[in-house]
């Protein structure tokens, strides 16, 4: 695993506001990394730093072996970027715009135009961008980011404005790119989508990195309870199964479902007793903590320890 992006102790101050505070991490080839955090947590600033559009106040950023802010832009030829709220010159058509960006990257124009089909822009590619909807602009934004098989893809809120079908296509495309060795670094609010796809999650809060790791690892660190939902036959509305250890956190849902919060080390034992002979359990679901819950947990924890 070769690292493609290296962020070392980076701080970025805008006037009085500190957008990023002492962030350090490395991204490697073939990784699909999700960057999550509320608005103003420093996600866009991190991407702009990686692009060299702004200079870090302290610390250093290295992308594909270059310092992006030093005017060495050879590395940018292998970089794809999709900004948040992407916009284009309204007078030109999608094809003309795509061709322009392909020329700037010294990539064959014909190949770049094929990408317009992949993102499903099709016939609209010959219309002026001024007539495009938000979703169509987003498709064009994706198409330009994919020009020339980038080694590093920086995607800022890439799936906003995309319909569910195109979201599927989008994830297929970037998963293929990641499998071929590209680093995909994307910020998003759609946590449920990321949960299945991102191999690694970085959580930012007020410019500070509060968590970094695979979802399994974050679950281990957070020690959030796993939810076990049981459908139990013949149980009175207020009654709880007799085999439940006393003091276990549990509640009743819609009258006939019992939900138990199981700490990681209790989980197996609870499942054993639930499925043991003699209980009237008819159905059972195990729901590990979602990314949403993990995110909320790490933010709460960050608020408590300033």
């Amino acid at each position: 695993m070769t690292s493609t992006v290296r962020v070392t102790d980076v701080t970025k101050v805008y006037g009085r506001a500190t957008a990023v505070r002492g962030a350090s991490f490395e991204l490697s080839q073939g990784e699909l990394v999700a960057l999550i955090g509320h608005n103003g947590a420093g996600k866009t600033t991190l991407m702009k730093l990686m692009l060299g559009l702004i200079r870090p106040t302290r610390g250093s950023v290295e992308v594909l072996g270059d310092n992006p802010a030093a005017g060495e832009f050879a590395g940018r030829r292998q970089l794809g970027y999709l900004p948040e709220n992407v916009s284009f010159d309204a007078a030109l058509t999608g094809r003309e715009t795509q061709a322009f960006y392909a020329r700037l990257k010294r990539e064959p124009v014909a190949k770049a135009l094929e990408l317009l089909e992949i993102v499903g822009l099709g016939a609209a590619a010959r219309q002026r961008i001024g007539t495009y909807s938000k979703g169509m602009r987003q498709r064009l934004g994706l198409a330009q980011a994919l020009i020339g098989h980038p080694k590093v893809l920086l995607l800022d809120e890439p799936t906003t404005g995309l319909d569910p079908e195109l979201r599927q296509t989008f994830y297929e495309v970037i998963e293929r790119l990641a499998a071929a060795g590209a680093t995909v670094f994307m910020s998003s609010h759609a946590l449920t989508e990321l949960e299945e796809r991102a191999g690694r999650v970085i959580i930012m809060n007020h410019g500070i990195k509060v968590a970094d790791g695979s979802i399994e690892r974050l679950r281990n660190i957070a020690r959030l309870p796993t939810k076990i939902r049981l459908k139990v036959a013949g149980l009175a509305p207020t009654e709880l199964p007799s085999w439940l250890p006393s003091g276990a956190a549990c509640r009743r849902l819609n009258g006939h479902i019992v939900e138990i919060d199981a700490a990681p080390e209790q989980k197996i034992q609870l499942l054993h007793s639930a499925t043991a002979a003699g209980t009237s359990v008819e159905d059972l679901d195990v729901i590990p903590p979602t990314l949403d819950e993990l995110y909320a947990h790490f933010l709460r924890q960050a608020e408590r320890t300033p």
């Binding site: 702004i54 832009f73 030829r77 992407v86």
Partner: protein, 275 residues
Amino acid sequence: MNALIIARKEIHQAVRNRWVLASTLLLAGLSLSLTFLGSSPTGTVGVRALDVVIVSLSSLTIFLIPLIGLLISHDAIVGDMERGTMLLLLSYPVARWQVLLGKFIGHLAVLAFATCLGYGIAAAALIASGSRIDSDSLAAFSAMIGSSVMLGAVFVATGYLVSALVRDRGTAAGVCIGLWLLLVLIYDMALLGLLAVDQGRSISSAAVDAMLLLNPTDVYRLFNLTGFANVSTFAGMAGLAQSTTLSATILLAALLLWTVIPLGLAAFAFSRREL
């Protein structure tokens, strides 16, 4: 190479937005009406019809070309930043000075096209209507078109400097209108007033020359109205033509400097900017 790719896109956009069409029609319409209305006092059989046109057209150019130049350039940097297109463009392997140079080449090409075609039509119309035009007049007319494009370049570059320095588009437009008023109207009036008050007592002719060089529109005026003997007799500037020591080369060099310096400063300001 990158600059040329960007220049090509700027020209493409200007054609689409009908900037090219509008400015060409404007210049052609005005130059044609000046040619035929402006020649009525001298009569249609005037031997030096083209020289009269040069005088009236260059006076028009001083108002119009700076305005067109500032209009297409004031928005170039700050406008693209506000619209968000600059963010994406700068994420590509292209240096900021290349972006600026590309825009300059593109915008200047649009301006040059409009000027050559718009003013060329006036000369062509004169020839077609049977006026006799000698080679001296033609040379002076070509020099007028060339220097008009150079004047346009000055104001395109100045517009970029404003665009690179200010925070929003509205400010850029305001500052550019102020600059236009200052350089096109106020400066000359103030200079005239100063000279009238002084009555030639303490201000030497070298000082007057220096003050004229400090305003690109005056440089342009001097170049066109005094540079060619046959034109200056019509322009009423024969007197000034004799007293000034500024040669055509110096005047052209001044116009060039007036382009290169703002353009260099704009590139510097743009490179320091964060977005």
